[in-house]
Symmetry: C2
Subunit: 418 residues, 2 copies
């Protein structure tokens, strides 16, 4: 079979399996997830043997230490995958929830029932733990899944998939409900992205290059975010010590993630008092400030910002800083340079807080809180399958509910249309 | 300017205008819609003069009488557009609704706020009334809109757009919030479908050919249904006189629309008693039955169905009829030949009714009701912008809410992430 035929066949089987998965009871889904957790522990040796093949190949290919670290399925990583499964077991099952039931003038009763999407396609890079997390979330929401991980993790991913599939089969569920594409060429992604009849949704996770490639080549709807360029606006009425804590936390607590702070906007009436305080605090953590001319006048030893610093996702200890005339100028800057991920205002002014929340159209908008809270777990969604900065279907962190949709249900007793 | 530059420029202006529209109060949106209604009535003559240009060109091009009829902006059609505007004014404004507010363990309060999508692109065929309906629905939901109607209605659409834009400007709103693309080549559609930065959602309305073209060429998410191949399953426990009424209504009341009945599935234990009754009733309305061999044995003078009759959207007085062994066989037929639009079961069996509702994953699933109820108005959505048989974002009839999304909002008082 060609690459195309292989993947088409695999997706067709997944589509078939998705009907079985959609009808599973909550109890059965949880039992299968429990079986997966047990097998991950009891087959740790097998997983680590297969993982070692990827690590050897990775070392030969000269992968960086950081990449090899992300690839390694240590005892600790396997334990945390098991912990993730336990969390998903504990989450309420979204499937079957009925809402909005209303009696219509015609006499029919109309409502909505939450149902699985069907087949989810995940495309991701090096971390093999995504294989387990994503498969478990999809299963709990009643979906089948086609997984396409990075080529450098292929042995690890296939080993993990085998364990998950064995757990499915032990409970009489088709193994095709969780599939790892065994072909590592990029061609395989192109074929996958063309199967609009058999895959309902694509979720890419990885660097901006991969995500843009997926978005540009997909016939299937894609839920994605390219990057997180998060802004904080410190208003003139801000509590400066609160602002200092929040900016420090947003920038420094974990700079390499998408909800960390990249640019700070400071009201001109606050700049003179606030910026020196902030500089002292941030320099203690080694943060480099890249400042607009006005900010640089106040803190002269900072670096001068260049145009490309605005809208840049640094993902390291660098912060762009701009002094703005007022909240309107701050919001205009966010429209121009933001990524619709997360923005926060620090203010004690009620009207400004409400207006910022209403008018900034990022997927998360905050008042007096760290951007680092922009996360499915922190928002009470349970687990997170990804973040969307596209407004369709889901906007912001996505949990189990975002892996489902709602159909209309109608109860009649013989009504016909007049 | 080239076609590409013209359309890019226009979409960019619409994007800019969308920010203004998103922030409008309900009162102001309703006042503008009221102004549009008044102008449509006071400028009826101008509209009909421009419409006449399209009708003359249409007659020269040899358009069918039915097409010319759909193109004609008679007094009655204009009055009904005005009536549509009044209905939209009466609908509640979905924008700004806050839901799911919960206090999290960290101390932040997290909720969701309903916001407009931004810019909607409508691509449609001959009826110029879509120009007014779609623009008004988009505006009420806080969106700007780029409209691309059929080339045969270009003068009518531009005249209607001028009236709508004048009403916007009379209230200080940018005319770019409602735009009709003045270029009638198909190239214009291709350019429009590539503007993923400036258009958030495409809704195509028209024949299957247009919709497939749009779906295949769009970089922007598309909400669509290709066709409506609706099924009714008459269970062995059905009330036959109820089944007869519902099948008759679903097939005959308006056969040319997507929620009319195309295929009937009859339980084998019901076939002998039910099919002759049904044949008598349907033949009174001139319906041709295309039967599977088993059904044809029971009603021998019916036409024998060929394979292509299953899954066919007849849109006329033809009904495919198949006798099935049980509900499982009926559901398997729907999976194979259905279009995920609307299916209904006629039964008095409680367990079967519940199982059919749960397991059939069409966008509308009904018990003991006519498929003709599958409609935004009948479901209480108010007005309908279209129907989606794609599971992402919206599934089934779409009203104002489906032209919006939800962002996360977070209220803190200084919380940082631990």
């Amino acid at each position: 079979m060609t690459v195309e035929e292989t993947i088409k066949q695999l997706a067709l089987e997944t589509r078939k399996a998705s009907r079985q998965v959609a009808a599973l009871s909550t109890e059965k889904k949880n039992r299968v997830l429990q079986g997966m957790a047990q097998s991950l522990l009891s087959q740790k040796k097998y997983i680590q043997q297969e993982n070692e093949k990827d690590l050897i190949a990775g070392r030969e290919k000269g992968l960086s230490a950081a990449m090899l670290d992300r690839l390694t399925l240590s005892d600790k990583v396997i334990d945390s995958m098991v912990g993730g499964l336990q969390e998903i077991i504990a989450l309420p099952d979204p499937v079957g929830e009925i809402s909005d039931m209303n009696k219509m003038p015609s006499g029919i009763t109309v409502g909505r029932m939450r149902i699985p999407l069907g087949v989810i396609g995940m495309i991701y890079e090096s971390r093999p733990n995504v294989t387990v997390d994503a498969a478990a979330l999809c299963l709990k929401a009643g979906n089948a899944v086609v997984l396409r991980g990075g080529s450098e993790a292929i042995h690890s991913n296939l080993a993990l998939a085998k364990i998950l599939q064995d757990a499915l089969m032990a409970d009489g569920i088709s193994a095709a409900a969780i599939q790892v594409i065994p072909i590592t060429d990029r061609d395989a992604i192109n074929v996958m992205l063309s199967l609009e009849e058999d895959i309902d949704l694509i979720i890419p996770r990885g660097g901006e290059g991969l995500i843009r490639f997926v978005a540009q080549n997909s016939r299937i709807p894609v839920l994605k975010h390219y990057k997180g360029v998060c802004h904080i606006f410190v208003d003139k009425d801000a509590d400066f010590s609160m602002a200092e804590e929040i900016v420090f936390n947003s920038k420094v607590q974990r700079p390499g993630v998408c909800n960390s702070l990249e640019a700070l906007l400071v009201h001109k009436d606050a700049a003179e008092a606030f910026l020196p305080l902030l500089q002292a605090r941030l320099s203690s953590a080694g943060v480099e400030l890249r400042c607009c001319p006005v900010a640089k006048e106040i803190i002269p030893d900072a670096v001068e910002a260049v145009e490309s610093d605005w809208g840049m996702e640094f993902l390291e200890l660098i912060l762009a800083v701009k002094v703005v005339d007022d909240m309107d100028a701050a919001m205009a800057h966010i429209v121009e340079y933001g990524s619709q991920h997360t923005e926060s205002i620090i203010t004690s002014n009620y009207a400004n807080a409400q207006r910022f929340l209403r008018e900034v159209d990022s997927s998360s908008v905050m008042v007096n809180a760290s951007t680092r809270f922009s996360d499915g777990g922190q928002y009470g969604l349970g687990a997170e399958i990804g973040i969307s900065t596209t407004k369709l279907h889901a906007y912001g962190p996505m949990g189990l509910k975002e892996l489902t949709t709602k159909k209309f249900i109608v109860y009649g007793d013989g009504q016909i249309r007049a």
